[in-house]
Assembly symmetry: C2
Homo-oligomer: 479 residues x 2
Amino acid sequence: MFRNTMPRYEILSEDAMDTLDRGWRRIVSEIGVEFILPEAVELFKAAGCKTQDAIVFLDPDFVLEQVAKAPREFELQARNPERSAHIGGQNMVFSGVYGPPFVRAGDERREATMADFERFVMLSQAFPQLDSPGGTICEPNDRPLDSRHLDMVFALQTLSDKPYMGSVTSGPNAADTIAMSEILFGGREAIERSPASISLINVNSPLRFDDRMLAAMFEYNRANQAVIITPFLLMGAMSPVTVPATLVQQMAEALAGIALAQLVRPGCPVVFGSFLSNTDLQSGSPSFGTPESAIGLLCTGQIARRFGLPWRSGGGLTSSQTVDAQAAYEALMTMLPTFLAGANYVMHAAGWLESGLVSCYEKFIVDIEILRMLQEEFTPLEIDEASLAYGAHQEVGQGGHFLGAEHTLERFRTCFYRPLLSSTENFERWKSKGSRDATERAGEIWRKTVEEYEPPALDPAVREQLKEYVDRRRIELGD
Amino acid sequence: MFRNTMPRYEILSEDAMDTLDRGWRRIVSEIGVEFILPEAVELFKAAGCKTQDAIVFLDPDFVLEQVAKAPREFELQARNPERSAHIGGQNMVFSGVYGPPFVRAGDERREATMADFERFVMLSQAFPQLDSPGGTICEPNDRPLDSRHLDMVFALQTLSDKPYMGSVTSGPNAADTIAMSEILFGGREAIERSPASISLINVNSPLRFDDRMLAAMFEYNRANQAVIITPFLLMGAMSPVTVPATLVQQMAEALAGIALAQLVRPGCPVVFGSFLSNTDLQSGSPSFGTPESAIGLLCTGQIARRFGLPWRSGGGLTSSQTVDAQAAYEALMTMLPTFLAGANYVMHAAGWLESGLVSCYEKFIVDIEILRMLQEEFTPLEIDEASLAYGAHQEVGQGGHFLGAEHTLERFRTCFYRPLLSSTENFERWKSKGSRDATERAGEIWRKTVEEYEPPALDPAVREQLKEYVDRRRIELGD
């Protein structure tokens, strides 16, 4: 797991923070937040909040009291304890793309299948830069809608030994995730001690939480499983067209959701989520990798730290339809600020393409390369007498070269970042090897990685129990 | 011209700065710096420095005394005063790629010609993100070697009204640049008042300045023209394999050169140059866009500010052979830290490909897009009551959308960054328009820009004088 011990790049002044603070307080207290689940409204009512139908008017100080009950950091268990992830503090946890209905491999774009899902889990397992395969890495469209969450959780649990994300499509689906986690980790107590899953609860922005997401969240909160409460904000559509207004809305929504989680179970693990970009107001399409989203990231980190909460960001986001220069610069345009801002949980860290409609194999490899570079870049320099290598300067003097210096020969294998994907070959050599661009080379890398994949060991009895659970529930669900 | 008023991202502690400080002092005083031009050694001798053949052993405090004579900021004149550039402080000045013998357009890679050079000047003139076309944007290989510097300066002076870089291939060639600047700006006094050219003086690292570069530098210093003194450091070849040792060498070389410039003419304008990346020690090729170079950039900004000097960095550097994902992420991996570190003069800001061997038209457009995005990203947010857009939240409430909100309708044309190159089109539309990736679209953009180019007005008499100078000198040079 990567710890980012470099300084945070913070751009909000105290004055700006105060203005934003006034903003979210006014929204939650005067406009209110809608919770389309009667149980949620009842919980707020019981705590003394003013409500009107599904709208809850929140006293900001009450919200902060609840938020203060959330842990600042927590351990997210993996079935292989060495792969457990610590969420919060200086830690940055990276997980794969989440949600796309389509996949892309080379020039082929098609509906995603369960086989794709499994391959992406394998790839996530293979690269140490990813701490989690994520959850819905792609939609397995060849599996029945009502029971595919079981197939996904089963694949995440068996093909990987890293932490995983749970189903949020309904309360019962969340309960399935929890039941399967209990099987894998050895009972309810084992997963309540410290969460064994982390799940994405999106806000139906602006200012509305829908019933299915809330029902799922309640299940997870009760079982002490982690949730990431994420306002879903494409400026111009789900929020106003200014970054400050959007930050204020993001605070209002995330904090209201976190307060609710703490009413369900005080002290349950939560993450302040951010998914903030803008709409292209010419086409109406979402835009990713924009300057606005980079600014949003920098601000969000500073805001979440103010509330003492771990926080989640996007990852290698892009609107590009293919793995081209745009895909790469947009991905890095979100990922580098993610490091500068010190996001604790980074979703969509590998594989995102086409505004999140596509999980792309080649993009996955491009993103892994970007993560490898940034993890190196955000590792502090050691500056001491030894690192000054004065002996090398004495040896080489003026006008010579360091290729054969003793200092170089002792270190040449490990002294520099070694790329996975990038090529430094000279033109003639590159041409003689087929003039393959980065995307073509990425195609080779992911195929080879899948071929060489080895499943992590799993007790056959546990695997059998999981399978029985899936089979039984599939029948109960009518598939 | 872009002013970067965002915070600088500084990663060196006071302790680290002290260690680096000891490092360069030891190198200049104990190992010394070689100056392969007798006049240079004489100047140092006359100032009381210890020398041994061409090697000068420098008292670090003497070096700093000279460095202190350099201006902290200066004005770089353009023939169109509106395009004059202020070098130093919060200003960031961007100039095109410099030096490549080859060009690439689409899939064609070939030797560069004068027509290419001229097209790149036109492109630089067309995009406001570039403050200068640069100097040797590509080598016009179809022009005789001895006089092509005249053709280049003439093209820079006539096809653009932005500041330009001068020839550094020899003392006489520098003198030609100065003479042509005198013609364009109306005499020696006009260009001595404030420099009308800026020129790149590379160090023959490690620790050596060659005679041709020094002879050119002397001409520029005497005429009060700006020089950028740049250690040329590919770690593992021209410097040791650690970043700290390389930073120390960079300080030693740049400061020694700047001290010399101040001996030639106290107070003459200089820039602390940085060109720092690493060698791929497996292949022996240079690597660009690496984590090491990003770290080097962040440190160099902090160091140059310590000495009160404006500083220069690379730009959109990459080792990639083509305009693919690698080219884009490597370019941004150097350009974003360049903004974080607040470089004052950014060379190679557009068009660099293939480790600097190729000036590429499509990459030029990709880089312009990156510059546009970063200039937007590094513009401070205004956070005030108006920007909170509370009225929009009141209007839309819960679960609606902001597309038709009054606040959106009033701002939709200008509220977000509008891309030049990036596409947010949905897949079907993108496919129906030919599935063109960013590089193909960039090809259209640069061709259209060249077609629509209009030369800036220039007094025909001045133009004629310049032409006469070029024709006369060409004959004198035997071409």
